[in-house]
Amino acid sequence: MRDRIFRWESVLLLLVVAVLVYGASSTTGFSSSDNIAFLLLDNTEVALLALGLLPIVLTGEIDLSVASVLGFCSALTGQLWNAGMSFETIVPIVLVAGAVLGTVNAALIVKFGLPSLAVTIGTLGLYRGLAYVVLGDGAVTGFPENFRPLATDTVPGTFVPYATVVVIVVGALIALVVHFTPVGRALYAIGLGSETSRFSGIRVDRVKMSLYVVSGVIAALASLVYTLRYNSARADNANGLELTAVAAVLLGGVSIFGGRGTVVGVLTALLLMAGLRNVLFLNDVTNEIQNVISGLLLIISVLVPVVTNLLRKRRHAAAAPPPPSTQTPSPPDPVGAAAASGPYEEDQR
C-alpha cells in the first residue's frame, strides 16, 4: 500500500518534470521568470482550496461549497471596503466569515448527520446566492496599493510570488498536521472506517467539524488573494472553481472514498495541472482544450491503479500452477458484476 502511494507521487513528479522540460525546450518564454511567476500566481486560489479540501476528502467526505465561500468572502470584502472600512479590519472579519460558513456546513453534516455531498451542493448555491445578496452584480475595485503587491508581486530577487509563499506555508501546516500528528492519523482512520474510529476513541464529530471550519477559513484566505490579485471584488469570483479543486485533489492520488492520499501528491498534481495549462496556453491552445486535457488527466489518474491491479492479477494467475478447471485467468464476465462498488476493492474470488 505504502509503496504504491509513493509510486503515484513519483509518477506525478516525473510528469511535472516532463512538462517542464518540454515547455522549456519547445516553448520560448516558458522558462522566463515572469512566466513562472505568472504560472504560480494564477493557481494560488485553486491550490488553497485544494489544500483545504484534502483533509475533508481524507475522511471520506466532500466540500463542494469552497468556491462559493470564496465568492461570498470576496463580495463581503467589496461591500465592507465600499463602506469605508480599512483593509486591516476587513481581513479578520472576512476570515471569521469564512469560518462561520464552514461551521454552517459542519453543523448540517455533523450535527444533523446529513450527507456532505448533498449539503455542500446546497450551500454551494446558498453561499453564491448570498454573495449576490451582499454585493449585487456590480464590482468593487480600487483596493489599497499597499496591500495589492502581496497578491501580485514576487518576493524581491526571486520568481516566487508572495501568494505562493502563502500556499507553501498553508501546505506545510496541513502536511504537518496530516502526516505527523495523531489528528492526522485520525483522518485516515475515519476515512477507512468512521464507525470503527468512533469505537477506537477518536472524536469523529469534533474532527470533522474542525475540518470544515478550517476549509472555510482557507477559502476566505483564498478570497483575499483573489480580490487583491484582480483588484476586483465580485459576487461571481471563482465561479465553478470547486470542480477544479476537487480534480486537483483526486489527481493527487487522494481516494474519493477517504483514507488515502498525501499533501505532496496534491501539491504535485497542482503543479502538473498548472504547468500543463501554461505550456498549452503559450502554444495557443484554447482554454477549452486545456479543460479536455485536465479532465482526461483526472480520468487517467483513477484508471491507472485499476489497470495496474488488473495486470498484476493476470500475471499472478499466469505464474500460478495450472488452475483447476473451474478457474480461468480472466473470468468471462465482460460487464463485471462488481460494478457499483469502489474501485480498489479486492476481488473476493
Binding site: L64, F112, D137, V335, A337
Partner: protein
Amino acid sequence: MNLSRLRTLFSGREMSIVAALIVVVAVTTVVNTSFLSGQGIHDLFLNASIIALLAIGQTLLVITRNIDLSVGSVMGLTAFLSGQLFINDHGTPVFLVLLAGIALGAVCGAFNGALVAVAKVPALVVTLGTLYVFRGLDYGWATATGVQQVNADQMSPSFLSFGSGSLLGIPNLTILTVIVLAGAAYALHNWRSGRELYAIGSNPQAARLAGIPAGRRVFTAFVLSGALAGLAGVLHASYFGTINASVGGGRELDVVAAVVVGGVAIFGGSGSVLGAVLGALLLTTITSALPILGVPAFWQRAVSGAALLLAISLDRAVMLRVATKLREQRSASRA
C-alpha cells in the same frame, strides 16, 4: 386496488412537494394574479420541462448510488450538434435531429458507464472528468468549425415551432417530458430491472450476491441518463433558438438539487422519478415566483440552495422520528 396504487404513486414525499408547490403558487398568485393564468402555467411547465428531463435521468443513477455530473456538458454538446446539423442542411427533419441528439448523448453516457461499470472508477470522479472533457469537445468543435453561435434564422422553422409549440394548450416539451416520466416511472416500479436498480443502490454487495447483473444495470442507467441529457440539449436548442458552446453550463448542480429536493436519497436505494420531476418543478416555480414577489433576482440561487438544505433536513427529521416511533412500538410489543 386503484386507490392503493394511487397512494403508492403519491407517497408522502411527493405530496409534501405538491403542498409546497401549492403554497408557492398561491402566495405568488395573491401578489400577481397573472401567475396562475393560462399563459403563466404554460410558461411554468415549459421552463421546468428540460430540467425535469435531466432529473429523470439523474434519478436512475442516484438510485443506484451513482451520480452523473456531466449532464450539463452532454446537453451543451447535443445542443451544438443540432445547430451544426442545420448549418449543414437547413431542411434537416426534426425527428432526425432529435435522434442524433439522443444518440450522441447515449454515446457520452456509454463512455461514462463503461468507466464506472467496467473499469470500476467511482462515478463522481469519472463524470467530473467527463464534465470537462465533453465541454471541451463542445468548445473545440465550435473553434474548429468557426461557428461560435447558431441563431434562430439558421434553424429550420419546423424545428423552432416544435420547441415553442404546444398541443391542446400543453407545450410540446412538457408532453415529451411527461411521456418520458411515465415510461421511467412504470419501468422503475414494475420491471424487474427497475427494481434491481433500487437493490443495487441500497446494498451493492448484497445485490451482487443475489445475482443481479449490477454492472450491466449501472451501465444502462448511464446510457439512459446520457440519452436524456442529449434529448434535453436538442430541446434547449429548439426552444431558445440561439445556442453556443456554453449551453447547459452549471446545470449539473441544479439537476442534482432537483433530484435531492424530490426525495431521492443521495446514497441510493430510494426515491422516485415523479418526486425528482416535482422537485424540478418546485425549484423552477420558486425561481420564477421570486421576481413577482418583489425579491431581487440575486436571491434566486440562495433560495434554491436553501430549499435543498431544508428538504434534506426535513427528510432527516422525519426519518429520525419514524425510527424512534418504530423503536417504541417494538419495545411496547415486547413488553
